[in-house]
Amino acid sequence: MRVGSSAVGDLIVPSPLRGEGQGEGFFTTGNRRCLLMTTRAWLLADSPTSRWQASAGRTYRVFTQLLRNPLSVLGGVIILVLLLTAALAPWIAPYSATGQDLANRLMPPSAAHWMGTDELGRDIFSRVIWGSQITLTIVLLVALISAPLGLIIGAVAGYFGGWVDKILMGITDIFLSLPKLILALAFVAALGPGINNAVIAIAITSWPAYARIARAETLTIRNAEYIQAVQLAGGGPIRLIVRHILPLCTSSMIIRVTLDMAGVILTAAGLGFIGLGAQPPLPEWGAMISRGRTFILDQWWVATMPGFAIIIVSLGFCFLGDGLRDVLDPKSEGKS
């Protein structure tokens, strides 16, 4: 068992022992620790013996590095809480999301109603909890539609080059230079209000960024020797793109998607606010703010509370995205 590079040593050997020679530190630690380190050493091995070991090791490294950055931990926790809240909404929410209680309308925040009640006496806290399901659905659907769409368009453009590339990238560039929000608004106006159409409209406006990334990544690896080897072995373009090129785009794609999620949440909330997204009585956060507008001067909590939920969740994605970028793509640190 050998401790490899010094970066590995950093993780394994407790810092007071460093500098006295890594081997020494290794043996002076106790038995139990040694066992623990065996698992770690297996994860961090310089020459993994299986594909599974390699990817497990990489995940472990990314994870430990993420844990060192308090902000990305916070971001991760926020996203985790969002997932749990959405999954457990029926058990967490003290009241129904739509149940009206006109006797208790527009009550300020209190022990019974943590965030107060709205104009129909509905508990705002419960509505915010239920609303997390809608937000999560929108975010996931947009990511699931636009990221693969962008990936494929970019990979195809980069792989084939020539006219295919010119045309696909021309379209991408046109989309990129148009205002996203306005375009989404126009699409929703044409398709009709509602969550599904909002998701489609947002996805239509957000794929071009992914296409650019995928194309750039594809160009850097298109002429790599192992790609030529696959071609020589008779691998067709579809097999090449799906099995060999797309997997290499995933890390930059994950960063970008995570960072973009904050924007998606804001756009979705904006559509809801204007009245083109989720329709009442659905407890969508943007639509809730819109309802609270009327009361903003006297009953401030109706409009303010859902806003805090939006901010916290968006920040969570920002923090996590920033952290992921620092770990997976240290070169681009600090750039927009």
Binding site: D10, S15, R18, G19
Partner: protein, 277 residues
């Protein structure tokens, strides 16, 4: 006579994950109006030594010294403000690569003039004349035209001469040249060093020439310090280099090819000989 520069127990350290790491570990030397060479491999702390004399080590880095006196002035006690009056005007530094060390959006002339105007109030016409004269002194033909060029429009060798002009125009007493030729074509290296040498001798300045190149340092310097891993392992007159005692210096010398080379393979440094020190 007091020396121009006296350094005692200079230490430079940087924080890392595993505590502070010293890159210069307590070195001492003095310098008169002479040419001192500091040689060593990358990471030996020679550049850090040069920069700490100008107190240019930025924040997380820490510089301490029992004594660091320049012309009787205690540099360690000077404030940032007082230090600025020394930088450029009395101690100056030529840096490695003109591609990076010249401001890309200021003309060559503006940058040289700035070095002068930072320390002296002069009329515009006088400044222009001094700049042109200085460019001539570093052997640039057609200085009027070159003064109007941007750094990306001049070659590496000319860029480095511009750098020298900029650093010498306020007439400092000590010049630190930190690898002044290692980014240049071999063909212009000697020209640049000759210019430095000539100007330094004519003005009776002190010179610290920092380099990894033993042959070059022994040619242009009077005295040589050999640095390794943050300490000075050898100090000798340039002519005495062949008689160096320390195994590191001997190793470096042995690794230099000569013109009538008969060896199949150049020896590799055997670090175990001095690792204990």
């Amino acid at each position: 006579m007091t020396p121009l520069l006296a350094v005692e127990d200079l230490r430079v350290s940087f924080p890392t994950h595993s505590g502070r790491v010293e890159v210069v570990k307590g070195i001492s030397f003095t310098l008169g109006r002479e040419r001192l060479g500091i040689v060593g491999e990358s990471g030996s702390g020679k550049s850090m030594t040069g920069r700490s004399i100008l107190k240019l080590i930025r924040k997380p880095g820490l510089v301490t010294a029992d004594r660091m006196e320049f012309d009787g002035i205690d540099l360690t006690a000077l404030s940032e403000h007082q230090m600025r009056a020394i930088r450029g005007a009395r101690i100056s530094m030529v840096m490695q690569d003109p591609k990076f060390s010249l401001n890309p959006v200021m003309t060559v002339g503006e940058q040289i003039a700035e070095a002068l105007l930072t320390h002296q109030k002069l009329a515009r016409k006088d400044v222009h004349q001094r700049v042109i004269a200085m460019l001539e002194a570093v052997r640039i033909n057609d200085p009027e035209r070159v003064a109007k060029l941007y750094p990306h429009e001049v070659s590496g060798g000319m860029g480095q001469r511009v750098m020298i002009a900029m650093m010498l125009i306020p007439e400092p007493e000590l010049l630190i040249a930190d690898e002044p030729t290692s980014a240049l074509d071999v063909s212009v290296q000697a020209q640049v060093l000759d210019i430095i040498d000539e100007l330094v001798r004519n003005k009776g300045m002190g010179l610290i020439l920092i380099s990894h190149d033993l042959a070059l340092v022994s040619r242009y310097c009077d005295r040589i310090l050999v640095m390794n891993a943050g300490t000075i392992v050898e100090e000798c007159a340039a002519g005495e280099l062949a008689n160096a005692q320390h195994p590191y210096t001997r190793g470096l010398l042995a690794a230099m090819p000569t013109i009538d080379e008969a060896r199949e393979e150049l020896p590799v440094l055997d670090r175990t000989q001095w690792a204990g020190t």
